[in-house]
């Protein structure tokens, strides 16, 4: 139908903005990678504040945990009137053992537990107006800068986790690679991912809009 004059429908966008700003946002990310790859430093840099406590600080017992343990810290940060509850889950002990078989199991269990918690809240008869969202929104996977290919541990982990969570692979401590090495490494990683049919974020099956696809292709 044709509108003959101004109605004011687009005012609903402002209403939406006000509502979301009042509600606030929740963002949960998980960082996975071997110790010493710079995970905590990167998180602190990303959010420009002391989110994670680094494991290499003096006075702290430097002990590699026997099994993978997950530690979550939650902070509230605010920018331009937008309040965000940020939860960063760290995974010390990942990939640090001699035998790393099934070291991804505690992580998968944790992610599924969060989904389970949300589902439980959702199917209650009297549910809360705003269900607290502890589901992991993104998982940043740190790849050590070997410069060669992805290791079996990396492939196994990403394969399993890309099915249940958005995985963002990241080359850690990239200042140890020259630009050409870096480009080659990236290409090899992309090839590896394609060969093993691992779909990392942004996934191709969510590309419904041509604008989205253009943006995502560039990211990929």
């Amino acid at each position: 139908c044709q509108l003959f004059g101004y109605v004011g429908i687009e005012a609903v966008l402002d209403q939406m903005k006000i509502k979301t700003m009042k509600m606030g946002f929740e963002f949960n990310i998980m960082v996975v990678g071997q110790s010493g790859l710079g995970k905590s430093t990167m998180v602190n840099t990303l959010f420009k504040s002391k989110v994670s406590r680094k494991a290499s600080q003096p006075g702290q017992e430097e002990r590699i945990p026997k099994t993978v343990q997950l530690q979550s810290v939650t902070h509230v940060i605010e920018e331009k009137g937008v309040k965000m509850k940020l939860t960063v889950t760290d995974t010390p002990g990942f990939g640090d053992q001699i035998n790393n078989n099934n070291c991804w199991d505690p992580i998968i269990k944790y992610i599924n537990e969060q989904y389970e918690r949300y589902l439980r809240e959702e199917i209650l008869i009297t549910r809360k107006r705003k269900i607290p969202d502890t589901r992991v929104h993104g998982c940043v996977y740190f790849v050590p800068p070997t410069g060669h290919w992805l290791r079996p541990l990396d492939l196994e982990f990403m394969r399993r986790l890309s099915k249940i969570v958005n995985v963002v692979p990241v080359i850690a401590k990239a200042d140890t690679l020259t630009l050409e090495e870096r480009a080659e490494f990236k290409q090899r990683i992309q090839q590896d991912l394609k060969t093993h049919a691992i779909s990392v974020y942004p996934q191709e099956d969510f590309d419904q809009d041509p604008d989205d696809r253009a943006l995502n292709d560039r990211i990929r």
């Binding site: 044709q2 509108l3 939406m16 903005k17 509502k19 700003m21 937008v82 199917i123 549910r127």
Partner: protein, 417 residues
Amino acid sequence: QNDGYRTLSLSGHVGFGSLPDQLVKKSIKQGFCFNILCIGETGSGKSTLINSLFNTNFDDPVSSHFLPSVHLRAQTYELQENNVLLKLTIVNTVGFGDQINKEDSYRPIVDYIDAQFEAYLQEELKIKRSLFSYHDTRIHVCLYFISPTGHSLKTLDLLTMKNLDSKVNIIPIIGKADSISKTELQKFKNKIMSELVSSGVQIYQFPTDDETISKINTIMNGHLPFAVVGSTEEVKIGNKMVRARQYPWGIVQVENENHCDFVKLREMLICTNMEDLREQTHARHYELYRRCRLEEMGFRDVGPENKPVSLQEAYEAKRHEFYLELQRKEEEMRQQFVQRVKEKEAILKEAEQQVHTKFEHRMLMHQEVKLKLEKKKKALEDEIAMFIEKKANAELLQSQASVSTPLVSLKRDKDRK
């Protein structure tokens, strides 16, 4: 609101301040759904008002007064303004208030609203669901058109509104308000509001918790019910064409705030509170419906020992119950079957017995008859033997006699014999 979490201060620009914009952009792409239900008697100005509100011409055929019952007619339109796409659904009540017996007039309306909630609930309960692309048909607002009598609400109005206030956001409107004078109008409005309050009807209150809009919303709350005039014709005023109604004694301009509350309604409905209306529908009315419906189906959040029970456990319990019931019924049927088989067997056995006895009896009879016949046969055989003997004797005598006596006398003897 912080729940005991530490607040960190940022030492630089991170960039998540654009999160609301990201959401808005996504919503623009998705498009919005807005569903309006118009309730009012035939001829109260519903279609004209909707045409005026959205500044377009929805093709709505005029309905007659002689429909046997109330039914609802829904039409969906796609409107686009700048880059915002709105899927607007207008639901009209056809034949409302026309019947002689209006006891059940509100029923079809309540049923329609419930049906939309039910459809959403079904989609939500599906295992493989697509809520993201679901076309939401739940009614977000109900514009209730009050007839401009100038006195008070009709009983039908109170009855209908009382039945709808817990299911939908109601905004009462006085239609065709150009037939009431200014002084009468204020008295009419006051009377209507006091009647609504005293009957306990909960109409939609514009939200006053957000500072940016609370002032204007409070003012608007005081202007309820809005007295509106709609028009599909345009009249030239000064050098502009405006929507207006032209009477022999003057012109009533739709968008003139001195003439009617049309602009206020449009402001409140679309510009300021559309999102809140949608949210109230989802968070309050739909949740209430969902709760009642699930409880009706037998699910509880709390088990018999007051321990929390999840929906899954309730499902399991119900399924178990059902299974036991099924087993019981199966057992019952099996017993019945065994019983019947036994009975039939007994009957057949008896019949067999009878046949057997008959058979024996007949055998006996057969034996007796056989014996008799044998005896007779024996007797006859003896007779035959005797006869042969006699014949032999006779022949012997004859052969002896033929030697000594003449043939004639033999013949005579023979004849005699």
